[in-house]
């Protein structure tokens, strides 16, 4: 079982932009590299791939990919991507976002991209903090945790982003962590292959801000903690809410294929062009 799944990731990168600007031990690189391996396995034509990102440390990911890329305004990546995809459905769209970008300012666009089931694979890099602006709490920061804008402890309550996206109508929803890098890659591959809105939340470490503020140790210590908290979806199904408190449910959470938005619109075009009133 040697070298299983090895992919030359660098061939997908703008080498002159390296090294990645993220802190030592940041999970973003692990997620981006897994995504590249999934893109490779999916056999996506590079010149038809467009990667759109929002604002934040996650937003910088689009700089590194050697394909058409777009680094947008905060929270709006999915809306920009919707325009690109609808204007040219032949293009393959990936959106890279974070817990702040997708769950706070971008929450509304997340709901509607999922509701439309538009052909975009959305990777949410959830490190439970606003990293780029140096450590304010996000909608995914645990209750009681410390952040620069929660110096007395966070009184906000995080919410289940995957449940929201599923309820809104996404056809593929999954969650993983940076510890589960190989499984993450497989979930991403399935997301890329799903014709519709695919949402993969990856819980990861921000060692510099969230980690330090909450005394969580070194990067790999934080990843070990993710492993301990993780529980596979199949097992979680039989657990009570109390047992699930503080756990991270991982794996494929929802897969219900339904017509992808641009294909539904193609039918509108056919109908409009085909028949006069």
């Amino acid at each position: 079982m040697a070298l299983t799944g090895k992919v030359d990731v660098e061939q997908y990168l703008r080498r002159d932009r390296l090294p990645y600007m993220w802190c030592p031990g940041c999970g973003h690189g692990i997620i981006l590299n897994a995504l590249i391996r999934a893109i490779h396995q999916a056999g996506i034509e590079r010149d038809k791939l467009v990667v759109v990102s929002g604002i934040g440390c996650s937003g910088r990911a689009s700089t590194y990919l050697d394909c058409d890329t777009l680094h947008t305004t905060h929270g709006r990546a999915l809306a920009f991507a919707t325009g690109i995809k609808l204007a040219n459905p032949e293009l393959h769209l990936i959106v890279l976002t974070g817990d702040g970008d997708a769950a706070a300012i971008g929450g509304n666009h997340l709901i509607h991209a999922a509701r439309r089931n538009i052909g975009i694979t959305c990777i949410c890099m959830n490190n439970n903090i606003y990293g780029m602006t140096s450590g304010q709490y996000s909608p995914e920061t645990p209750e009681g945790a410390y952040a620069t804008t929660a110096p007395y402890g966070n009184i906000d309550h995080p919410f289940d982003l995957c449940a929201l996206v599923q309820a809104a109508g996404a056809s593929y929803v999954a969650r993983s962590t940076t510890y589960h890098a190989r499984a993450m890659e497989k979930l991403m591959l399935k997301g890329l292959q799903n014709d519709g809105f695919s949402f993969i939340e990856v819980v990861e470490q921000c060692p510099t801000y969230f980690g330090r503020k909450n005394k969580l140790g070194e990067p790999f210590d934080m990843m070990r903690l993710l492993k301990e908290r993780a529980v596979p979806a199949s097992k979680a199904a039989a657990m009570t809410p109390e047992e699930l408190a503080g756990r991270i449910v991982v794996g494929e959470l929802h897969h219900q294929p339904r017509m992808e938005y641009t294909k539904a619109y193609d039918q509108v075009i056919a109908r409009a062009m085909g028949g006069a009133e």
Binding site: V50, D68, T72, A79, G83, N108, I111
Partner: protein, 383 residues
Amino acid sequence: MADLLALGQERQLMQGNEAIVAGALAAGMRFYAGYPITPSTEIAELCSEYLPRCGGRFIQMEDEIASMAAVVGASLAGTKAMTATSGPGFSLKQENLGFAAYNEVPCVVVDVQRMGPATGLATSPSQGDMIQARRGSHGEYGIIALTPSSVGEAYRLIIQAFNLAERFRVPVVFLTDEIIGHLREAVTLPDPGSIPIINRAKPTAPPREHRPFKPGADGVPVVPNYGDGYRFHVTGMIHGEDGFPTSNPDVVERNVRRLVTKLTDHIDEIYQAETRHLEDAEVLVYAYGGTARSAQRAVRLAREKGLKVGFYRPVTIWPMHDDHLRQALAGRRAVVVPELNLGQMAGEVERVARGACPVHRVNKVSGGILTPEEILAAIEEVY
């Protein structure tokens, strides 16, 4: 209502908003993203009906912020894209409009102005967004804004809006108002085949050699379209010719200034204004948009009374052509500026006049229109 995709050249009745959609379709607009808002909603409804009929795409986004984002995305993917809104929605669009201006993305944003501020009077006209069209987003950037004064002009001008957007790679704000938007009047439209259509330039160099934000000799870069194999990066961060972020002060300074100068350096190509009676005018009336209709009549009434009054109607609101206006103001005893706001363009006229010609404001912010009689009274007062 006539079929907007098959309009003839015979005289026909048309609504302003209809003319905007018909003209946009003739210009090659094939993507619309918007959110319903009075008094622009007809534009969205007509686009939803007509775009799929010609293979174009329409989407009603969840808000005006998303609409502007989707328009930018569609344009980057190579499609002529448009959105339409009114005051509250125009305010929401500003961040992404600034993004479009900075990244030199061709697009058209129609603002059918209504009474503000805030929710205002949804069904009443105003000209309250004039400065906002130039300065609505943060930071420095260039913008083109056009203002029609009739339904027929709206048709011709929206085509020019798309042409200018493609030519200069800039968002063009189509600043109309509830008067023109909802006005129905007889029009005689040109044969669409007779109007030149401009499409954005495409790169000639191969992908590895082409620098997406390198300006041409005219100051406009040749930005590729997504999907054409250029694998380029577009970011809201200040970037260099290669599209990647930089903080090099020389590059930043040059990059930001060029957003303005690419337009002002070509002002003669961009600017349009209608002028009448400049040869003998003692007093000038400067009016635009729906108010220009009343102003035009006021000028005629004044001249019938023997008053030597001239008429200056900017069609291009931004950028202003200071020299052109200054020449028109030279030697006049006063300029009367009627506006449905508290003097937004009057302030600009004052700036250009540099004290050489007193500026007399005629302002109304009641939700009603300025009548020819009200404007005539102001002319007689300063004459």
